[in-house]
């Protein structure tokens, strides 16, 4: 099927940024929030590799992950042109779409506190004109047309093809441009490791310093759900006031993470497609029903709340499925479902469950650390030791009949969980064109 597409010829682009300027002038965007960017491969000019560019904005994918994952239904598709349109008035600024898109198309604007994005110059193309970026390209490297795109149109080093059918045709470098032939008798061989050292570090989209609120929030979800479950089983006391305080704190933590707090209600509009919507919906349901349970002392509310609670734990873990992991492993010991089970087992004092979950978490943890170590990625051995100790000490003491009071043992367990969860964010990231174009990523 033919669709409106960008056509990018890698042989023609010289990285002049006129497309970026053309876009920002047409759309009146802030210079710090360019909808289009020219991404460059091999900026440092590694002698064995070509320097080339990708001018990328939104690729208006057929299976657009921004639209699918947006909890607030802020994205729609313009049926006539195929453009994926972002609606500013509906956006809550949660930035989840900026994680979902592998092309770094949605941009969070700190001034407006919402996301914005290329709209394919939908008005221009509806009028039969070319998008402003295409019009601005002085060498015809960026073009626009109605195309029947194939798989091979997206095969070029450094470009992510995740099967989401982006509307872009990439014309790869010709053979003679793939490896530079340079004559210079003074050229010396440089150790690849050295070059790696010289490369500037890429920016991390998911960074622990930005996401600490999420560390605490997700741990709070696990804590509240396990507490409610243990209480429902009659193993532990639960009062409305302390439960209410923790709940309010948890909600406050999520709200810190979104740009438009007054639109928070929009979080739950996309139950059909977005795990983020499901997370917020199920967690809110859990809080409400638990409140009712505590007020009415009706167990039916309690069971209903637990169902919502379990679903919210699963949702939290699913929310993060779209991130890239440095360890490339499926399971992570810091998943909130596992934390929830561990905390529940402690509070309910089910020793077989405690043993099994400690064993499971321990194995996954050690396995991951080994994987990171083997890949030459920082794995923080001392912190890891502390994390393992936090898992083992309360259990060993329990085993030795040296019982700690529950708050102390829970505090130790929680420290371990927070370390694990913090590592989860530290080791997660989003694919971006910048990262894909790191020279060690596209070398063939």
């Amino acid at each position: 099927m033919k669709k409106n597409s960008f056509i990018f010829n890698t042989n023609r682009c010289v990285g002049c940024n006129a497309c970026v300027a053309g876009c920002s002038i047409e759309n009146g965007t802030d210079f710090r929030v360019n909808w289009r960017e020219v991404n460059t491969g091999n900026k440092i000019k590694h002698p064995g590799l070509p320097v080339f560019h990708f001018s990328l904005a939104c690729n208006h994918c057929e299976d657009a992950p921004c639209m699918k994952n947006c909890p607030a239904l802020a994205y729609t598709r313009d049926e006539k042109t195929g453009a994926i349109i972002h609606h500013a008035e509906a956006c809550i600024g949660c930035t989840y779409c900026t994680w979902a898109c592998p092309y770094d198309a949605p941009k969070f604007n700190p001034a407006t506190k919402i996301v914005e994005k290329c709209n394919f110059c939908v008005d221009r193309i509806s009028d039969g004109k070319r998008p402003a970026c295409v019009e601005a390209c002085p060498v015809g490297a960026l073009d626009f047309g109605l195309l029947d795109l194939k798989e091979e149109d997206r095969v070029t080093p450094g470009f992510v093809d995740m099967g989401i059918k982006p509307s872009i045709q990439l014309i790869p470098l010709r053979e003679e441009n793939k490896a530079p032939k340079v004559e210079n008798t003074d050229q010396v061989e440089v150790d690849e490791k050295k070059i790696e050292e010289w490369l500037p570090k890429p920016k991390d989209k998911v960074a622990l310093d930005k996401e600490w609120t999420l560390v605490l929030f997700t741990i709070a979800v696990a804590g509240l759900v396990s507490w409610q479950a243990a209480h429902l089983m009659g193993a532990i006391d639960m009062q409305l006031i302390p439960f209410g305080i923790v709940s309010v704190l948890a909600i406050a933590l999520t709200s810190l993470h979104i740009g438009k707090k007054m639109r928070m209600w929009r979080f739950i509009l996309n139950l059909k497609g977005s795990w983020l919507s499901r997370e917020i919906f199920s967690f809110s349901g859990f809080l409400g029903l638990t409140g009712l349970q505590l007020l009415t002392v009706n167990e039916m509310f309690g069971y209903a709340a637990l169902t919502f609670g379990i679903f919210s734990l699963i949702s939290v873990d699913m929310v993060y499925k779209l991130l890239q992991r440095k360890d490339n492993l499926v399971l992570h010991s810091g998943m909130v479902s596992l934390t929830g089970i561990l905390l529940f087992a402690w509070m309910a004092e089910i020793s077989i469950l405690i043993e099994m979950i400690i064993l499971l978490k321990g194995i996954i943890y050690v396995y991951r650390k080994r994987a990171l170590k083997n890949k030459g990625i920082a794995y923080f051995p001392i912190l890891s030791l502390l994390r393992i100790l936090c898992l083992l000490i309360p259990y060993i003491l329990l085993d030795l009949q040296l019982e700690l009071i529950l708050p102390v043992s829970l505090a130790i367990v929680l420290i371990g969980e927070i370390i694990d969860r913090a590592e989860f964010y530290y080791e997660s990231d989003v694919i971006t064109p910048e990262k894909k174009l790191r020279i060690n990523n596209y070398e063939q």
């Binding site: 010289v14 002049c16 002038i25 440092i44 032939k181 210079n184």
Partner: protein, 677 residues
Amino acid sequence: MKTYSTACPRNCYSTCSIKVRVENDKVIGIDPHPENRATPEGPCIKGLAYVERANSKERILYPQKRITEGKYERISWDEALNTIAEQLKNCKETFGPHSILYFAASGMSGLLNGVGANFWKLFGGATTTYGNLCWPAGLEATRLTLGANKHNAPWDLENAKLILLWGKNPAETNIQEMIPVEKAQEKAAKLIVIDPRRTPSSERANSLFQIKSGTDAALALGIARELIQNDWIDHEFIEKYVFGFEQFKERVEKYTLDKVSDICRISAEAIQELAKEIGTTDAMTLIPGYGMQRYENGGQTTRCILALSVITGNIGRPGACFHYANLQSYVFDDLKEPESYFPGCEHPSFRRKISVAKLGKDLLNIKDPEVKFIWVERGNPLSQNPDTNKIKKAFRKADFRVVVDQFMTDTTLEADIILPAKNMFEQSDIIGSYWNPYVQLRQKVMEPAGAVKPETEIYYLLAKRLGFTDEEIKGNIPEPNDEAIEEYLNGFLKDFPELSLEQLKKGPQLANSFEEIPFADYQFPTPSGKIELYSELAKEMWGVDELPDYVPLPEQTEFEFQLISPNSKNRIHSQFGNLNVIKQFEPEAFIFVHPLDAEEKEMKNGEKVEIYNHQGRAEVKLQYDMGLRRGNVVLTNGHQSHLGAAPNLFTKGCETDMGHGTAFHNTWVNLKAINNE
């Protein structure tokens, strides 16, 4: 909203035709103008930046008077012009008109620029400069050899089978040239680049010959020797149209492969391979850049390179030419570049004794009279002429300085009075190009912003204040209204029935004299009527060898790094760098250094380092560039010293071997790590 046809008047090859969208006297958009066959896809990022430039809050819109260093205050035109007129009268009476320096540069092209010279002539003369910062060595070399500076139309490049970019980086400096380069490559032409740097243009090439900077002439002569030895030359062409081949053949004898390999630092096999490509490919377009002639040996170097096009017969055919400068659109000039740069051709009232290459030194030394009053328009000599510190000293030695500009620069910061300059949208003028062959109208599309007055009006008002008679003013300085400007321009057009303002308002036009393939008639306006490899004129005028030769640059022991200051895609000299649309990509100057060189000096990427030599010092952030030859460092042209590092803080101010050009790249510096805490 209205759309107008206009053209970009910057000192740039491309001279793009553009369409400008105007709404409520405000520029709101710049669009491509496909009628210009050389720039059909539109301008570069700088052209797009006019939307910001025309509306910038930073623009100088009112006359300004200096309060203290760096501080200016708005004054009225009356106050500004009365003060200037007073100063001019005093200077003239006390020291004579030659105590005034009239300095104009290449900031905006147009026929109306001649009004300035007319004014100063009526004033009784002034001191002016000779020479040029940019390209005269190559122009003179080409003129001496071929007799004229013209080359095939830009779009003919797609017919070439071999494109040799010799020290040119069109991807940054003439971006639309990459269109025919790519078209030729799509038709299997080869692209070869010779450059001490790996550039965006060399990324497109089949191979890059990364020779040592300043040794280009040796390489050319080595190739010539190979061409002759392998009989890859065009005997018939040489026989009929070339003067001095036998002597040239003897000259190249000593440039053996081993010797050249040693000088240029590329392998002997590489030289052979390059010679073979040149000698066995039909239709070579050789495109030298202007950078490689900005050395002391630049003129001779260009003659050596041009000899390759000559002996292989790659002149005057489709796809085959020496593509240095195309002055075909300069139809209104009585005297073309480079001859107009030479002292002696000016009106006798002028004292033309200051070399642009040695502006600071010459200004400090000039006597009888000394320069007391400096007038600068269309230029920023404090950042663009060599040896900034010396020029600053010379400017401060004078009593009074007037600078006309659109934005604050290194030079306006030295002014006693700053006058606001018009921009390209506020007055019509006719411009040519040194690359594409069109005559174009840079059309007035709006009234001047604020209190801006075009230079012609400033001169008109000054002339009135200085008591020039109406008779003198008439014909020399147009009255300040649109009709008078059009009448003045029509004065130039009257000899060209094919060019009318009416037509020019619609788009770019070709003069009848335009040749798509110049020299196809094998007419070479040299003394011998042939292409002169052997030029007596060269010796007579410039004291160089009659034959092209390699003249090594001075041996360097004191400073470790050779500084080259190529042009960047982000600026035309010192223009555009102040705009946000540009600053987002290049917020400040960087010194580019090979990481191994940096490591030896314990300097790291992103850190501030010190650059210094006898001319100056500055601190600047370092950026790794593995595409450089070790020992070469790069600071791009057009950075200004009031904002940090600028290349001309370090340049010495020496002329090229011919043409009175400027040897910017004869510059050596040291680098030092500094405490970044």
